[in-house]
């Protein structure tokens, strides 16, 4: 079994706590040794996941909590964001994500749906589970060279 440290926090599912979680990820990621750019990416990805959970709780009229777990490994950081709200149509959410396509007119542009897309763009691995509430599990590796063999980029970043 791989050794790792685990840090967990629970915050109310309210927008004013998104920034608090962002401060925590910033501290943890810098402790592990991530670069400035990676820390900024992590801040956005985690904020997006929490914002989704907060929006979700809001629509359900639910004063719930959001749990955030950080698995600190030697070569990577795993982050889990879970909201314990009710059901959630994953296909609907996934269907609405993606970058802006040049063919869309401004009038037809959607105002949401960029959150999950950003998470996927900024993290090395993302899994979303939707059994009991929504759980977003995302991973970022410390050095790009340690990303799996299926990754097509070879980098010498230290």
């Amino acid at each position: 079994m791989e050794n790792f440290d685990f840090i967990e926090m629970k915050v109310p599912a309210k927008a004013e706590y998104v920034g608090i979680v962002r401060l925590s990820i910033s501290g943890i990621a810098s402790r592990i040794g991530f670069t400035y750019e990676d820390i900024e990416d992590l801040k956005v990805a985690v904020s997006e996941a929490i914002t989704n959970a907060v929006d979700h709780a809001y629509h359900e009229d639910d004063d719930g909590e959001v749990s955030v777990g950080y698995g600190v490994y030697e070569d990577r950081l795993e982050i889990m964001v879970a909201d314990h709200g009710g059901s959630f149509d994953l296909n609907e959410v996934k269907g609405g994500i993606g970058p802006y396509q040049g063919s869309e007119s401004v009038e037809d542009l959607r105002e949401g749906g960029f959150g999950l897309f950003l998470i996927e763009a900024l993290m090395d691995r993302v899994e979303i589970n939707n059994n009991d509430g929504v759980v977003v599990l995302m991973t970022k590796y410390l050095h790009e060279t340690e990303v799996g063999l299926d990754d097509d980029q070879i980098s010498t970043t230290q």
């Binding site: 998104v18 900024e40 801040k43 396509q101 040049g102 401004v106 105002e111 949401g112």
Partner: protein, 110 residues
């Protein structure tokens, strides 16, 4: 983790200077302010993001709704002085193509 919104009104033009972070918490007040301005026919809104160090997709959503509002009201919105990190969020999502964005902090008379 707050966002300060300073508004400088000039004739037919408003400069909105933002300082802080744009996220789910600070977004509603920004949205309200921007839509107020973009609803004025032919008004020019310039959003100065020089002092914004953090923005996520909530911010994108707000700028998109402001842009839509400009199309309906024949007004305009321009984003200036974006920091690299903020610009990156626009670039990843492809939205840098539809906004008028100026990144240079100093330079030109614009």
């Amino acid at each position: 983790m707050d966002l300060a919104i300073d508004v400088i009104d000039e004739n037919k033009k408003t400069i909105v200077k933002l300082s802080g972070e744009i996220d789910a918490y600070t977004a509603p007040q920004l949205k309200e302010k921007l839509l107020q301005l973009t609803k004025i026919e032919e008004h020019k809104t310039i959003v100065d993001l020089e002092n914004v160090g953090y923005m996520d997709s909530t911010g994108l959503g707000i700028f998109i709704s402001a842009l839509k509002s400009t199309k309906e009201n024949n007004s305009s919105i321009r984003l200036v002085n974006l920091q690299d990190r903020v610009l990156r969020v626009f670039q990843i999502t492809g939205l840098d193509e539809i906004f008028t964005i100026h990144t240079a902090i100093r330079g030109g008379n614009e």
